[in-house]
């Protein structure tokens, strides 16, 4: 690492800021939809500040607006949040955080921060990616939740601004660099098909968990025969080749 004044502005921070803006703006739709579902301003703000996991938040207000019980909303949101435990495990393994950092890191352990972090090749970049995406999404998500809640439905559908397309591009952009050999491509295709098959027959959010469970079973079954399909794995094998 070069100790220049701009050394913090790396590919990881750029990626983190990009996804923070793309994801944070979605907070407008959450805020507006939450008010429309019948939650008040403070309940809406609390969900973004305290729950802070978009899928669970949307699931919660989705159940409420569909006339579901608060207990059903609680269950849907909690089930959807389970994948964050998987992310926490991965972040702990990749970043080796100090114990005193765990309380705030756990709160910003979400899809975006995990994906940006694990997409980097060295430890410093993984940390910068996690911090930028995690804190960036947190700040912008909460800010735009408030904006969305205040404006209510008048702000309209973010789809009109192409933000749903931006989210799709953001996720494929994170997946793409990992598809370097046949095995990861096959895993990605299998995961996509499995998710599509699970969508119509399971509650929203569960297809991701079903896919994660199948991937974990497959990985344990195939064991150590193949190197880790990550940039980190590549770097390790390069180091092993050196005299």
């Amino acid at each position: 690492m070069h100790a220049t004044s701009a050394s913090w502005f790396t590919p990881a921070t750029r990626m983190g800021l990009s996804i923070a803006i793309a994801t944070g703006l979605y907070g407008i739709s959450f805020g507006a939809l939450s008010i429309a579902a019948g939650l008040d301003l403070w309940q809406t703000v609390a969900l973004s500040a305290l729950m802070f996991t978009g899928g669970s938040q949307f699931a919660f207000i989705g159940v409420i607006s569909g006339g579901g019980a608060a207990s059903a909303a609680f269950s849907a949101a909690s089930l959807l949040g389970i994948r964050n435990a998987v992310y926490g495990m991965q972040i702990k393994q990749a970043l080796r955080p100090l114990g005193r950092h765990v309380p705030w890191m756990a709160q910003v352990t979400i899809d975006e921060s995990t994906a940006v972090s694990l997409g980097q090749s060295d430890l410093a970049e993984k940390r910068r990616g996690f911090f930028t995406a995690g804190v960036g999404v947190y700040v912008l998500w909460n800010l735009f939740t408030l904006v969305g809640a205040l404006l209510g439905e008048r702000m309209g559908d973010p789809a009109a601004w192409g933000l749903d397309g931006a989210a799709v591009a953001a996720f494929i952009g994170l997946l793409w660099p990992r598809l370097k050999s046949v095995e990861p491509v096959m895993i990605a295709i299998a995961a996509a098909i499995l998710t599509a098959l699970a969508v119509p027959v399971t509650a929203p959010g569960l297809p991701i968990l079903v896919t994660a469970a199948c991937a974990a079973i497959y990985a344990v079954a195939t064991g150590r025969r193949t190197p880790a399909a990550t940039e980190h794995g590549d770097l390790e094998s390069i180091e092993e080749d050196q005299p």
Binding site: R14, S18, I19, A22, Q43, L50, M51, T53, S56, F60, G62, I64, A70, F74, A77, S78, G81, N84, A85, V86, G88, M89, Q90, K92, Q93, P97, Q107, A115, A159, W161, G162, D164, G165, A166, A167, V168, A169, A170, F171, I172, G173, L175, R178, I187, A188, A191, T195, A196, V199, P204, P207, I208, T211, A212, A215, A216, V220, R224, T230, G233
Partner: protein
Amino acid sequence: MSELSWWILGACLTAYAIKLCGYFVPRKVLDSPTMSHVAATLTIALLASLVTVNAFTSGQELVIDARIGALAAAIIALAFKAPYLVVVVVGALAAIVLRASGLAA
């Protein structure tokens, strides 16, 4: 506080507790090669799953709309080694253009 507010508070605490759980798996377990392989496979599978959910679903329905155009445009941008922010902007623009031209919902 209303009953709904209590459920919201409970759901928020549960969400945080679940996040914390991931950090309390023993380090010894995480250091194994099998765990690394599982983590790498999980990452790819989860990202592919998130792409699918974001591009092709609306609630519990599979749908084809402007987002598939956004996905295609993003893949083309990635194939040309575009920077990440450009890929994201291309995805948004593709969705806007497809909807404005009436080619997709």
